[in-house]
């Protein structure tokens, strides 16, 4: 939190400087404006907080890649309409670079307008399939993952763990269906059943009874946010954990959800791209810095935002803070020359990541805290199924 006042003072200072210097020198000191639309209110607001804080952690004295930047942060209340409104307003006022959006449906609303206005969008969380295939765009980058990747990695994980019969559970909406499709794409065993839960469901006793009676080797479930906490708590309470292991994608149990789930999280397997336990210097430094700055453990969302900020920083550096040099900026982004906390990172032909995925397990560490430990790497230099359909001009 200490960085905020400094940032503001600097920003004010630079604005004053440019005002005095006049328009002719505007390019030099003028900060690059970054439209940062994210979800800060609503129950999902904690994700937005982590995204914002992770991003700001990467900024040094209000600068990214030595270029002064000005984050224009706006809450979308998880309403696509609000987000679009905010994005269009910013685009009209001259913002050329956008990021921050946290949910696929919000992203779907924001991106087309941004691209039409000639701006760049760098996604720090969702990577929906819509923009990964035919509708890929040269100004649209995803620095996190393609949405299906975690589920495909989970399918690979299930293969590694030797499960033959897996039961699938997900909420009855698009992301839920995509999740199960992704899992089935890579899983080689038999599907014992697919259960679609209600969108606003909080109690899963009925579904747990069905799992018990079907007796699969394991279950794969995708319930983000509160529903994920509910599911894990009730799963543990039902005693099923002892007989039927649970496999999830990482965002069904992030660092903050562990806090709210408690012991019930112990023993859950998850597919992941990064966890706090990942063994590389950049990651360790990031976790420590984040804890120091905000006195809490970063979630994967914070890590993704941090990496995204550094990616943007690397590109800003390459163009000397002049985002007007569009082609150069784009090329620099594409090169992705920065040290990613998650390890190896590069862009595929559709400007979505090619990276490694892991099988992880929630288990107690030496001091008795539950952390997400790395079990093994299940996918190396893994891209996505949509890249082939992308024809970038």
């Amino acid at each position: 939190m200490m960085t905020l006042p400094i940032t503001r003072r600097l920003a004010v200072g630079t604005i004053l400087a440019t005002a005095l210097a006049g328009p002719a020198f505007a390019q030099d000191g003028k900060p690059v404006r970054i439209g940062f639309i994210t979800t800060l209110s609503t129950p999902a607001g904690y994700i937005g907080e982590d995204i914002r804080d992770g991003f700001q952690l990467a900024m040094k004295d209000g600068k990214l890649g030595d270029a002064p930047v000005k984050l224009e942060i706006e809450d979308d209340s998880l309403k696509p309409a609000n987000a679009k409104q905010a994005a269009d307003r910013m685009a009209q006022s001259g913002v050329k670079l956008f990021t921050g959006v946290n949910f696929s449906n919000v992203l779907a609303a924001v991106v087309p307008g941004v691209l039409e206005s000639g701006g760049f969008y760098v996604s720090l969380n969702p990577g929906p399939s819509v923009f990964a295939g035919e509708k890929c765009n040269k100004n649209y980058f995803v620095a996190s993952y393609q949405n299906d990747a975690f589920h495909e990695a989970a399918g690979l994980s299930a293969n590694r763990l030797g499960y033959k019969k897996v039961m699938l559970l997900a909420p009855n909406y698009q992301a839920g269906r995509d999740a199960l499709e992704g899992f089935k794409r890579t899983f080689k065993g038999e599907i014992a059943g697919e259960i679609y839960t209600k969108l606003d469901q909080t109690d899963f006793s009925v579904e747990l009874a069905r799992v018990r009676s079907a007796q699969p080797d394991a279950i794969y479930q995708f319930h983000p946010g509160g529903a994920g906490i509910n599911f894990a708590k009730q799963y543990a309470n039902s005693g099923l954990t002892k007989t039927v292991p649970m496999l999830i994608p990482s965002f069904s149990m992030d660092a903050r959800m562990i806090g709210a789930t408690g012991e019930a999280a112990d023993g859950i397997y998850a597919s992941a791209m990064w966890t706090t336990e990942l063994d590389n210097p950049a990651s360790k430094a990031f976790v420590e810095a984040f804890r120091k700055a905000y006195s809490r453990t970063p979630t994967m969302y914070a890590q993704q935002a941090y990496d995204t900020a550094n990616l943007i920083g690397s590109a800003l550096k390459a163009v000397g803070g002049d985002i007007g040099k569009e082609a150069e900026f784009r090329a620099a982004l594409r090169k992705a020359q920065f040290t990613a906390v998650r390890g190896k990172f590069s862009f595929g032909p559709n400007q979505h990541p090619i990276q490694d995925y892991y099988l992880t397990k929630f288990a107690k560490n030496g001091s008795g805290e539950i952390v997400q430990t790395i079990v093994e790497k299940v996918a190396q230099d893994y891209g996505d199924a949509y890249a082939a359909r992308c024809k970038m001009d």
């Binding site: 209110s41 609503t42 129950p43 607001g45 904690y46 907080e49 009855n172 697919e194 259960i195 679609y196 839960t197 209600k198 969108l199 606003d200 909080t202 109690d203 006793s205 009925v206 579904e207 009874a209 069905r210 018990r212 009676s213 946010g225 509160g226 529903a227 994920g228 906490i229 509910n230 708590k233 009730q234 309470n237 039902s238 005693g239 903050r256 959800m257 806090g259 709210a260 789930t261 408690g262 012991e263």
Partner: protein, 304 residues
């Protein structure tokens, strides 16, 4: 067969939880004629108070007391500050005023307790499962839920039918002027009933907290279902709320358990899944629409 019994128990448990929420709401509506959308917030406030106190003291019992007190007091505060001015107003204004209160409560709770959902573990004496039938183990906490629901039903029955307060409550529902003429302060009676509704929400909140994520917006998620319950049961009637809660609990649970499978027997899997999931989501609304079409005032209305 075992599975069916287990699913019936699940339905019963869900019904018990809905009844705790619906009984207070239906009393408030029946006696004072107020549509109170804030009711779900009381439940959320109860859960947050419980989690907070349990985190500080480690005692589930204290947490439970905090939930009842917190939710009850908040309900009284809401009644005194806002709802008491709405008794003789059109439903429209009640909906709007309490909608505003929902926004306020949610944001206030997130400012006070933060956005991070707090943890509340299942207390040791409610952990684990016990055999109910040979081959059927059922979680203790869910059984406790059912038991608590039955206790609340019994308590309310005694209160409404066999106590002075209950007599006033029934008289108040029938004839406001009469009660006032008897020299009873109807204002205090209303506040009391409102507080009671809040306490029942707090009870549901503390019972649900170990099983659920305690988060902003958890109130609205149950609110609409609770309204469905009281409308099906007949607004204003505690008996109706009980019948409605059990009916909705059963239809929802059994629907989730069996509708997809039944559809799979006759349709291709992909169609069955989509259709099944959609049908399951809308099942209680379909139930409500059907009930209202046959009996526009619900199954057991307080006054016909």
């Amino acid at each position: 067969m075992i599975l069916l019994i287990e699913q019936l128990l699940n339905g019963l448990q869900y019904g018990a939880m809905l009844f705790m929420l619906a009984s207070g709401l239906t009393l408030i509506f029946g006696i004072m004629g107020v549509i109170n959308l804030t009711h779900g917030c009381f439940y959320m406030v109860g859960a947050y108070c419980a989690a907070f106190v349990v985190l500080q003291t480690g005692s589930f019992l204290l947490g439970a007391l905090a939930a009842l007190a917190g939710a009850g007091l908040y309900a009284v505060a809401v009644e005194l500050a806002v709802v008491q001015w709405l008794y003789r107003r059109d439903h429209l204004y009640q909906v709007l005023a309490t909608l505003g209160l929902i926004l306020f409560t949610n944001e206030a709770v997130s400012l006070i307790f933060g956005r991070r959902p707090p943890l509340m573990d299942i207390p040791p004496f409610l952990q684990g499962s016990v055999p109910v039938l040979p081959g059927l183990e059922y979680p203790v906490i869910r059984l406790a839920f059912i038991g608590m629901g039955a206790l609340v039903a019994l308590g309310l029955w005694l209160l409404v039918n066999h106590s002075r307060v209950g007599m006033l409550v029934r008289a108040g529902a029938d004839d406001r002027e009469m009660v006032s003429a008897l020299g009873i302060d109807i204002r205090r009676l209303y506040t009391l009933v409102f507080g009671l509704g809040g306490v029942l929400c707090g009870l549901a909140g503390v019972m649900a907290a170990p099983l659920l994520a305690i988060e902003i917006g958890m109130g609205e998620r149950v609110l609409i279902t609770t309204f469905v319950v009281i409308v099906i049961g007949g607004v204003g009637s505690v008996r109706g709320a009980l019948v409605g809660a059990l009916l909705v609990g059963m239809v929802d649970s059994l629907g989730r358990a069996y509708i997809p499978q039944l559809l799979q027997l006759s349709l291709p899997p992909s169609v069955a899944d989509t259709l099944g999931a959609g049908l399951v989501s809308a099942s209680i609304y379909v139930l409500m629409a059907l009930v209202l079409l046959v009996r526009p005032l619900g199954l057991l209305p307080a006054r016909s």
